[in-house]
């Protein structure tokens, strides 16, 4: 695979993973390594009053690139401060920008997202906004100077797979920056489809950590990304309504 280029960064893996939610650190790390991910998301939260000493999350993510998110921020203001805190805490300008509009769907709030994106691009961030699978919002985010767009396949954590293939196809065709399918992937075939459509990468969390055997699913996802990437570039055969024999039609045996 060619490297994935996001702004000034390059990655050889096209699978970006989350770091689990309350998944034990050793299992988390096994999954990340099985997926071959080089870029992993983390959330930013207030420090608790009494945190027990021991291995921290960051101790378990050595050698990986961090992609801090602004998950569950409901206003541009909160997302901007969270992003700026993440940059200072983790010394990276990469941000997965999320501005959520509704608790049940976790769909992005387009208006707030654009406000936050404008501000953070101006502030020098390499911005990767999570957005709805709408070609117009993706175009606006690109015009603002985002480094990538991350349209959802389906609601976060739903595992429904790609709900609107044609929209995703249009987004990918029109975009001049990487399109990373984020959220909603449930199993390996969903990741293959995203890559076959021409997505630059896929970001997933629950599809891996929510599987009965997360490490095995992480391996499956790694192969799926590679497989979809190759298929997209191989150029599929045209679809036909009727059958075409795949063995010679002459020289057949006659029993009578």
């Amino acid at each position: 695979m060619e490297p994935l280029k996001i702004g000034k960064y390059e990655f050889s893996s096209r699978l970006i993973t989350g770091t689990g939610k309350a998944v034990p650190y050793p299992l988390m790390r096994q999954c990340i390594d099985a997926a071959g991910a080089e870029l992993v998301t983390v959330a930013m939260r207030r420090i608790p009053k009494d945190e027990p000493a021991g291995m921290t999350l960051l101790d378990n993510l050595t050698g990986l690139n961090l992609l801090p998110n602004t998950a569950l921020c409901f206003t541009a203001k909160d997302a901007i401060l969270t992003a700026q805190l993440a940059r200072e805490a983790l010394q990276t300008d990469l941000i997965k920008l999320e501005v959520i509009g509704d608790q049940d769907t976790l769909y992005p709030d387009n208006e707030e997202l654009l406000i936050a994106a404008r501000e953070l691009v101006k502030d020098g961030f390499t911005l990767m906004p999570y957005c709805i699978d709408d070609p117009i919002i993706c175009r606006k985010l690109e015009d603002l100077g985002c480094a990538a767009v991350m349209p959802l396949a389906a609601p976060i954590g739903s595992g429904q797979g790609i709900r609107n293939i044609t929209n995703l196809q249009i987004i990918i065709e029109k975009a001049n920056i990487p399109v990373i399918v984020d959220a909603g992937v449930g199993t390996a075939s969903d990741a293959v489809i995203a890559m076959e459509l021409g997505a630059s990468a896929v970001l997933m969390q629950t599809a891996i950590y929510g599987a009965k055997q997360p490490v095995r699913m992480a391996q499956a996802m790694k192969l799926a990304i590679h497989s979809g990437y190759l298929a997209a570039r191989a150029g599929r055969m045209p679809k036909k309504l009727y059958a075409t024999a795949s063995s010679p039609e002459t020289g057949l045996v006659e029993a009578r």
Partner: protein, 65 residues
């Protein structure tokens, strides 16, 4: 002096942002602080004094997707 740390009232002896992080035993790496909505750069922590009643946010990375 009374300040607000992560949404909770907090009584502190700390004069600077660096003092407060030490008082809270917050690890220096992977942690960041905002004072009244503005991020305090790591290099500025010991020069940044905390006014009475200031609102502080202190965060670090946690698992997430």
């Amino acid at each position: 002096m009374r300040i607000v740390v992560n949404g909770q009232d907090y009584q502190t002896e700390a004069r600077t942002a660096a003092d407060l992080l030490q008082e809270l035993q917050a690890p220096e790496t992977g942690t960041a602080m905002a004072l009244d909505g503005e991020v305090v750069r790591r290099s500025q922590l010991s020069q940044t004094t905390l006014p009475e009643g200031s609102k502080i946010e202190i965060v670090r990375a946690v698992q997430g997707g």
